[in-house]
């Protein structure tokens, strides 16, 4: 299996409210957009009107932030049903959320807080993912989060934890390459080794982003261009997986649409070079076997120039 059995949509961008009007007006050539479910689902008015207009022209892939799959609070079944209705409405081929908790003791932390890498925690997540998959009835992926801390890794590493969950729940992995890179800085490990130990055949989507450094501290703020070290790591991942659906993510200080499009085209160009395909072409299983060589650097330098 490649790309979790899903079509590779190539480079895409996060659809944010500040871009709605420009996208409707200019209809820029994005292949697809990812939306944050909770920013659109159940809304009427101007947001819905503009979202529906964009949906006529672009493929939309939803992504959630409120599932709190790692929590011990009961799953919010009303929320799950609402998501299901929305997924049906927009004919979403798959969806995803984060491998973390956002609520506990019925308190919303509104932040992606890491969970312990323990057997108990893995079992908890697996059982909850099974329920989620039963409700959604479509492929579901969990995303590796940025971790400023490790709550516990005495029983297993993060890669083992993710592999266990993916294997036993049947879900896919949304690989956030930036998060893998940042975690390797925070916790002192080799990002390539980490990525190599993941079940890469289950990676059905990827995220790329930049970040800010405040007073010497890195904050995963999604408010800067994807930096060269992340493009490097991304090239390494693509050399192992082949093309995927790759989102360039901005949540703050969003650039204009042209700049956003440019970043998705860098992702396309890199994937095409590595896989030996035209950007946007359906990926063949053999394309994943092409090694990342000097062509990666060549493509990147060409784009930078």
């Amino acid at each position: 299996m490649q790309n979790f059995g899903l079509p590779a949509l190539w480079g895409g961008a996060g659809l944010r409210a500040e871009h709605y009007d420009e996208i409707i007006e200019k209809r820029p050539p994005f292949r697809w957009f990812e939306i944050i479910l909770e920013n659109v689902m159940g809304f009427g008015g101007g947001i819905r009107e503009r979202f529906q207009e964009i949906r006529k022209h672009y493929r939309i892939i939803p992504h959630g932030v409120c599932l709190s799959i790692g929590s011990t609070d009961p799953l919010d079944m009303e929320y799950l049903k609402q998501v299901r209705r929305f997924l049906d409405e927009i004919k979403a081929p798959w969806t995803s959320d984060h491998l973390c908790f956002t609520m506990v003791d019925h308190t919303n932390l509104s932040e992606l807080i890491p969970i312990p890498f323990s057997r108990e925690s893995a079992n908890n997540v697996i059982e909850r993912i099974k329920i989620v998959q039963d409700v959604f009835e479509r492929p579901f992926m969990v995303e590796n989060v940025t971790r400023y801390v490790t709550i516990s890794d005495r029983e297993m590493s993060e890669a083992e934890f993710i592999s266990t969950i993916v294997d036993r729940s049947g879900c896919g992995l949304l690989l956030d390459v930036t998060n893998a890179h940042l975690n390797s800085l925070f916790h002192g490990y080799d990002a390539r080794e980490f990525i190599s130990s993941l079940p890469l055949d289950r990676v059905g989507q990827m995220h790329l982003a930049g970040w800010e450094t405040e007073d010497g501290k890195i904050v995963d703020s999604h408010d800067a261009p994807v930096p060269p070290e992340v493009w490097d790591l991304f090239s390494y991942v693509i050399s192992k997986t082949g093309p995927s659906s790759v989102l360039v993510e901005w949540d703050n200080l969003c650039p204009n649409v042209d700049r956003l499009l440019e970043e998705t085209q860098i992702a396309d160009k890199l994937m095409a070079e590595i896989a030996g395909l035209e950007p946007g072409a359906p990926a063949s299983p053999s394309s994943a076997e092409k090694p990342a060589t000097e062509t990666i650097r060549g493509a990147r330098e060409e784009l930078r120039a």
Binding site: G42, G45, D76, V104, N108, S110, E111, I113, V149, S152
Partner: protein
Amino acid sequence: MSLADVLSATRELIFSRYEIPSALAERTTFYRERFPALTPEELEDLAKIDPARLRIYTGTVYAGERNTLRMHFPLTFALLKRAMGDDFDSMELIKDVHERYPWSHHSTKDLAERFARYIANDVPRLVERDPFLPDVARMEVLDLEIARAEDTDGEAVEPAVLGTLTVGDLLELDLVIPVATRTLRASCDVLAVRRAYFAADNEQDFVMPDYERRDTFLVGGRNAANYVRWVEVPESVLALFEELASGTAPSPVGVQLLADAFVSSDRGPDGGNQAEEELFAEFVAMLRSLLERGLLLRGYF
């Protein structure tokens, strides 16, 4: 060993205001006393976490809540800043809100409701100085609800149509109150405060109007361009909207019913002596305002 206890302890540490010991041994002892349900292994793991790194989450959680609230409560924040001057610290404010009314649902509406409750109940000295603060906060909660409410399957009625109808035809007209419609009882002229705020080029230029301390009855909704709009109505008309508007489904309302409510209202010292024609003209003007602002539609039932 319980995952729930570990997650609870993590949450407490992120929100705690107490000093977490910097030395590992002290921290372990401190956590042991603080979290008696945790096993020695869980305590050891938790103690290994650098408190400064946990505080990154404290910062991002509170900053996220503050940014969300500031976006949805621009006027309330401006008034707080004006009332508190240099003492205004938005992060401290948010911490206080969070401690008194923890955000217990993933929806922004839940956070907004809790913030408005905090303004109404927990800042008495500020409210004494600015009595309109709770009303403004409440209005901004309703703005959020109106902006996001589900659409209503209905057709806007051109106000000009009213002039083409006979009195009888007008009174027989059946309309609907859209899902987005909300009601507000305020104790001062919040619309005047709001108008002054949005008329200013920037926050520094905002001059508080000489507001009138009087009961104000408002109906809000979404116009055809999806902008939030409010209309002041007599109390009896507001009561009818309160009775009929569900906020979850469109509600039918006949113009006759609205007219009856309008006529029954107490419209001041001269209200009872108005000529019938004058009274009818006032009613039509109110109806026109409600239609122009999308607070009433022609619905499909």
